[in-house]
Symmetry: C2
């Protein structure tokens, strides 16, 4: 029986061409059924519709027992505005499915993990319009359908979690913050200056919760704006330095990022 | 007797022309003596010298009983890297002076306030090279020399504090975070997209400490990069919405910002 995957957009609007591309990929496979919620195409300023519409669509698919997986359409910004409400008074059907995405979806992932639901880091439908994006989207579908271990980040030590660095920094101290004790914590970022990465690492590594991770690993940091003058060290040196300063074991590089090579990281156990 | 003001640069390098301009202004006044520490002109990647040099210069002027005031040369980024060390084992002379600056200096201000020292938000030497910057610099000097109340932000209710929004968000949960209970909290920002302001307000207003402020007021938000699509609401609506969502009294606009009209905000009592 085909795996039923519902696509909603808690952050920004899904591009029509991305939706068409990902539907064609799913159709070719024949092992999954993609239901792209019309909310994905709403537009309200920065967002895929007002908070109320994004929340309603998300709650609807969470509560649907026929839905096996919820796939976040894309990142951008905005899921934090509805995450707390989305996780209130959870219907039982919400606990029987997995939730996959990355970037801004991290606000939801954090809250889902905290609530005991199955969050998964991985490529999203919007990635279909990247050059070579079919491979990224297929990796997510392989994991949805077959729990294909070749889709996974190759060096995970369970339990693991993955976050965009800036998103993780922004959810510390909020009701969404999950317990990070003993976690293989993977971070990545995009479009942030080196000085911002340094500042966010200062903030992150000051957290007593973050200091309890088993290790911290750095994925790719893409599209770094130029710093004038040059910052003087790269993202790897920055992250390693703050790990040393805070006593967090630095685990080296991780195979995640805002790109088509982005891998899957199931929060918690690998066989979830 | 002329007020002795020591200038150090805990963040980025002071421009030579700014130093010359501010020295000329002080010289013309004749009521203050400006000692610009040579560390201000060091360059080490992004910073005004390595952490060790910036820390040493700051500790030196803090410990000097002949210094009446410490003036932070400019912002940028980097004072967070030395703030904790700067505030360890404080010499008694450090407690007899005021510390003035804004923007990235907020990391130090937070720690100074927490340690019971006198932090003050206000224009910095680097502002001398802004168009109309002499007025800004003179406002700071008027406050140093005469505690001139016309230099103050006009609607302060004591105790008050002022921070760059992004800096304040980055110091929450760190050892620098001061007690904000009952404070007239002024925030401002520069060069941040509306979506980033929204995200930082989400983070800020989730803090139980921030929720104890007497009121939150919004200064100017300058140089906002364009959002595609348009975010849909302005910075004032963003800040007011998060105040409503979190139960923080919104106090309207404040007369501070990254510009020559930036006013002075003494942390704690007005006559400090």
């Amino acid at each position: 029986m085909a795996v039923k995957i519902a696509v909603v957009a808690p952050s920004c609007t899904l591009k029509r061409e991305a939706a068409e591309a990902v539907l064609a990929i799913a159709d070719d496979r024949g092992d999954c059924e993609l239901a792209i919620h019309p909310q994905c195409f709403l537009e309200d300023g920065h967002f895929a519709g007002p908070d109320s519409a994004r929340l309603e669509a998300l709650r609807e698919v969470m509560a649907d027992p026929a839905v096996d997986a919820v796939w976040f359409a894309r990142g951008g910004y905005g899921s934090n505005r509805i995450a707390e409400a989305a996780l209130t008074d959870l219907p039982s059907a919400a606990r029987d499915k997995v939730y996959l995405g990355y970037s801004d979806a991290g606000f939801l992932h954090a809250g889902l993990q905290k609530a005991g639901l199955s969050a998964v880091w991985g490529p999203m439908p919007q990635d279909a319009v990247r050059q070579g994006g079919e491979a990224a989207v297929s990796r997510a579908l392989d994991w949805f359908v077959k729990r294909d271990s070749s889709a996974l980040e190759p060096s995970l030590q369970m339990p693991a979690m993955a976050f965009n660095l800036t998103v993780l920094g922004s959810l510390l101290g909020t009701v969404l913050e999950p317990d990070l004790a003993g976690v293989d914590l993977l971070i990545e970022d995009v479009s942030e200056h080196h000085y911002r990465i340094d500042r966010t690492m200062f903030h992150l590594t000051a957290s007593p919760n973050v200091r309890k991770v088993a290790r911290l690993r750095l994925g790719r940091v893409g599209d770094i704006p130029s710093n004038d003058p040059d910052f003087g060290r790269d993202e790897s040196a920055i992250v390693e330095e703050w790990c040393v300063r805070s006593g967090i074991p630095y685990g080296g590089r991780a195979d995640i990022g805002h790109d088509v090579d982005n891998r899957v990281v199931p929060f918690g156990a690998a066989d979830r």
